[in-house]
């Protein structure tokens, strides 16, 4: 617990958190990631609609605890009558970003994602707790492979940003898959990073982009030397990618999955 750093970020916050997270309902996972389960009210600083279905939220937290890429926050919405709904959202930002960035895909009729996309504005308050998760995390230490499908690229983007900021972009290789550029969050950033990008429903061929699903032949060259493979996306995507990695001889014990979104 002594190694825990509870940093305060964002100019308006000014509250210094000095007690160990454990004392406040936090804990340290096996990977060294610190977890904080206290609810707090974040200031919504920026709301960026990246496409007709994707929104980026940039939040300032009054009592922020440093995260590791791969961790998530829980967002809780509360109606006037006390009814509330909470959902998990992976962190997109690197640990050294001033703000915490989340990226939400608006689902048709989605209760929480619909509100976050349609309704939330800068200046609003958003109730959150986190960071949470101690297993699907990467500290930019050992070489890794990150594979994301759709909104499943969000934690992989946090890893890429962290790799960049810590001067180790060669430590993370990425493969990302989406239907169209509009449905793949951070499409351009992933391309600039040098990720292998696959677009499965994009009518126009784009140079340097695969116009089909990710296949074993695309993953094989990325796999070498990766101590851990992080796979994130829908259950179907995670299942198919992990089976391909196994087929290529990548050890099962070194694959970490995060499954979310529709099946």
């Amino acid at each position: 617990m002594a190694t825990t750093t509870a940093a305060t970020r964002g100019k308006s916050s000014g509250i210094k958190v000095t007690d160990a997270p454990a004392a406040r309902g936090g804990s340290v996972g096996t990977s060294g990631a610190v977890q904080n389960t206290r609810w707090q009210q974040a200031d919504v600083r920026e709301v960026i609609r990246l496409s007709p279905s994707i929104v980026v939220l940039r939040l300032s937290l009054p009592a922020r605890v440093d995260h590791l890429p791969g961790q998530h926050y829980v967002v809780r919405l509360t109606a006037d009558d006390g009814y509330s709904a909470s959902r998990s959202y992976s962190i997109a930002s690197a640990p050294d970003d001033e703000l915490v960035e989340l990226c939400v895909e608006r689902l048709a009729d989605g209760e929480v994602s619909g509100y976050l996309y349609d309704e939330l504005q800068p200046g609003d308050q958003l109730e959150v707790r986190g960071p949470i998760g101690g297993w699907f995390v990467w500290d930019a230490g050992k070489p890794a492979l990150g594979i994301g499908g759709g909104s499943g690229v969000v934690p992989i983007v946090a890893m890429a940003r962290h790799a960049d900021h810590t001067g180790a972009p060669d430590r993370l290789r990425i493969a990302a898959s989406g239907r169209t550029p509009h449905e793949l969050p951070y499409y351009q950033e992933l391309r600039d990073y040098g990720a292998t990008v696959a677009l499965t429903r994009h009518p126009n061929a784009t140079p340097g982009v695969l116009g089909r699903r990710l296949a074993a032949e695309d993953l094989a060259p990325l796999m070498d030397g990766a101590a851990t493979a992080y796979v994130c996306g829908s259950a179907g995507f995670a299942e198919s990618i992990s089976q391909q990695l196994l087929m290529l001889g990548y050890p099962q014990s070194r694959i970490r999955l995060e499954r979310f979104g529709p099946t």
């Binding site: 804990s27 006037d80 509330s84 998760g133 297993w135 099962q252 999955l257």
Partner: protein, 203 residues
């Protein structure tokens, strides 16, 4: 809970089902898959179930041995920590009670570490596995349990959050102390009672 989210009304015409613990929503006929590991494929022919630790003698069952025990069915709800619940579902298998009845439990045994074929572990108080509250199941709503949902066989402890219902179960180790399992070491609650919203350590 004075805080309210500006402009949030929640899903229109929602009716809070009394079977839903706080913070949960009803997924209807869906059944989301949440696992941290690659889905293993194995057959019940070469699967065994073992109870070891604080017991008179370690006991191992084949699937045939288990099929010889009285079948038991669970009709009710399941609750995942990621906030979905599945209401009015059913599973078929054997009650954990009929397995425990075949071993001699040491008086100091109070906790269980459940282990899967993948090495996944989760910890539970022994009292949460006995008294008609837990099952090993191989059928869901009358059909064989699929691999992604923990088939061919999984633990079912429906009164606790579903990560306690270890998929691909293969062993119980009886202990005199609580030893955190996989998610519990990674920040999740040691007991996981959905009615008390024990999601994370410290809740």
């Amino acid at each position: 809970m004075a805080f309210a989210s500006r402009g949030f009304g929640g899903r229109p015409h929602r009716q809070r089902d009394e079977r839903l613990p706080p913070g949960q929503y009803d997924v209807g006929s869906d059944w989301p898959v949440l696992t941290a590991e690659v889905t293993p494929r194995f057959s019940l022919d070469n699967w065994t179930f073992t109870i070891d630790g604080l017991v008179g003698m370690t006991h191992t069952w084949s699937f045939q041995d288990i099929r010889a025990l009285p079948e038991s069915r669970y009709d009710g709800d399941i609750h995942c920590v990621t906030t979905w619940s599945k209401l009015g579902t059913s599973f078929t298998g054997v009650s954990v009670d009929s397995l425990i009845a075949q071993v001699q439990v040491a008086p100091e045994a109070e906790f269980v570490l459940a282990t899967s074929t993948t090495g996944y572990t989760t910890n539970l108080p022994l009292a949460d596995l006995t008294g008609g509250k837990a099952w090993l199941v191989w059928e869901h709503e009358g059909k064989p349990l699929t691999a992604e949902h923990g088939g061919p066989i999984r633990l079912l402890v429906p009164h606790l959050y579903f990560w306690k219902s270890a998929k691909w179960i293969t062993k119980f180790t009886l202990l005199d102390h609580d030893e955190p399992g996989f998610w519990e070491r990674n920040g999740y609650h040691d007991r996981g009672d959905p009615w008390k919203e024990q999601r994370y350590q410290g809740d």
